[in-house]
Amino acid sequence: MMAWLAGMGGFVLDRLVRLGRANLFLLRLLGALRFLFQRPGLLIKQLYVVGVLSLPIILVSGLFVGMVLGLQGYANLVDFGATSSLGTVVALSLIRELGPVLTALLYAGRAGSALTAEIGLMKATEQLASMQMMAVDPFQRVLAPRFLAGCIAVPILTGIFTAVGILGGYVVSVIQLGVDGGAFWAQMQAKVQLFADVGNGVLIKSAVFGLLANWVALFEGYEALPTSEGVSRATTRTVVTTSLAVLGWDFLLTALMFGDW
């Protein structure tokens, strides 16, 4: 029993220490962002790597999620003769929840894991140490551009995911299932609010998720043990931790934004 308690205590302490390190890491990362004013080229290259290269998966996933929403929504609404609300249902689900959350999860799998592996391998092969020996700070040269690029990319990807999703919903419900197209758009236009829905969901949520996803990915890579096993574990941890953090924060943010207090 004592051993069990001690084990639990050790585990909790371990986690707290790691959380503390992660926060110090974030502070140093934020401090290094200034450097990007001198070297905007580094940022642009990373925007391409984490943003543009993530587009295919975001486009395809968004389209399919929107189409599924159209199908499911129709099946439920048709019994009440309320299929004209389908546009609202699809748009609100995507804007408030599915867009930001799924984009963040897909981003963690596509870009976050790659960031962790890249940084972890740079550490394992002493590239980061040799950079420091050349008096170049890896926080400025390597980590900061990736972090900022990721934080910019996630909200934009979320916007694209959501827009494509709505299009997918339109294709299924209006073109395939015969819902009235005018009603689809008009209802959506009437019910979706710019600040309360789009602002909170697509902007604020995705900004928070983007910060979480990139922070976790870079921290795990930077702290990875410099072995192949260490890097592979860190990559797994990035995806798991980001997913849990995104879902947990989504609940909190949803409660704050849309909860009826």
Partner: protein, 280 residues
């Protein structure tokens, strides 16, 4: 037997590039260094030798400020490296090159861009001048023709020479070599030996070589330190050490399997270890 063998004693203070006093360093509670004193003379090739795992790499990391000692002082050019702020440390490192054991080339950059990296980061030179400088450095290591290759396409020896070209890109005053000869074929070994000596003399560098390859190291070193189990066992010129009376030095310098140095990692007595399982 000491620095005065190559320098008159009254000159010694100005003539040391690195001074280590009472250095102690622990890893996971295990002492790697225990009150070590070292003097690295300026403008010479100094070799630090010892068996694998004695902490040679660790020593270079301590000298270059990548690690902090648990006790003692390490001075480079008269400043204490482990008391410097990051900014000052980076300033110091611009005068210091380090050749990593693995080469540590940037895998996403070509050979040319690897060598150009420190120049681009620390200078505002025009592209034509950078090109000239990079080609000069690559010519010095004999790899001007390999400028467009990627690091993955290089052999081990070539990668190390590219890393060397990169380390001298900013014309440092001191170069630290971590196992420059490990895992090289005889030809690239000979090339490296010659290169290190030539660079040292032509550029007036201070070179510190850490190695366990006795033959090659003795061939180019002006001064040698032998370390083992956290202590300096012996130091002197290669000639001093070659005829040292110490059995340990004799064993290491002439690569004899039997001698005072054990091949075993520290362990409890063999017999009691075998019995421990049964009694547990």
């Amino acid at each position: 037997m000491s620095l005065s063998a190559i320098f008159p004693p009254e000159l010694t203070p100005d003539i040391t590039a690195v001074t280590v006093r009472g250095l102690s360093f622990y890893r996971d509670g295990r002492p790697i260094f225990d009150r070590v004193d070292l003097d690295i003379p300026r403008g010479k090739v100094t070799a630090i030798m010892g068996p694998s795992g004695t902490g040679k790499t660790t020593l270079l990391q301590l000298i270059s400020g990548q690690l902090r000692p648990d006790a003692g002082r390490i001075e480079v050019d008269g400043v204490c490296v482990h008391e410097l702020q990051r900014r000052d440390l980076y300033q110091l490192r611009q005068r210091m090159g380090m050749l990593f054991q693995s080469g540590a080339l940037f895998t996403d950059l070509s050979v040319f861009e690897n060598v150009a990296f420190p120049l681009r980061e620390h200078t505002r030179l025009p592209e034509t001048l950078i090109r000239t400088l990079v080609l000069m450095k690559l010519e010095a290591v004999g790899l001007r023709g390999a400028r467009d290759l990627m690091p993955a396409q290089l052999s081990g020896g070539m990668a190390r020479r590219v890393a060397l070209a990169r380390a001298i890109a900013l014309d440092p005053l001191m170069i630290l070599y971590d196992e420059p000869f490990a895992g090289q074929d005889p030809i690239s070994m000979a090339v490296l030996v010659k290169l290190i000596r030539t660079l040292n003399d032509a550029l007036g560098l201070t070179s510190i070589i850490v190695s366990h390859d006795v033959k090659e190291t003795v061939a180019i070193a002006d001064y040698l330190y032998l370390i083992s189990a956290g202590r300096v066992v012996e130091h002197g010129t290669p000639r001093d050490l070659d005829c040292s009376a110490s059995p340990w030095v004799d064993q290491f310098m002439h690569a004899r399997p039997d001698g005072p140095m054990s091949f075993h990692y520290p362990a409890p007595p063999y017999f009691s270890d075998l019995l421990a399982e049964a009694s547990a």
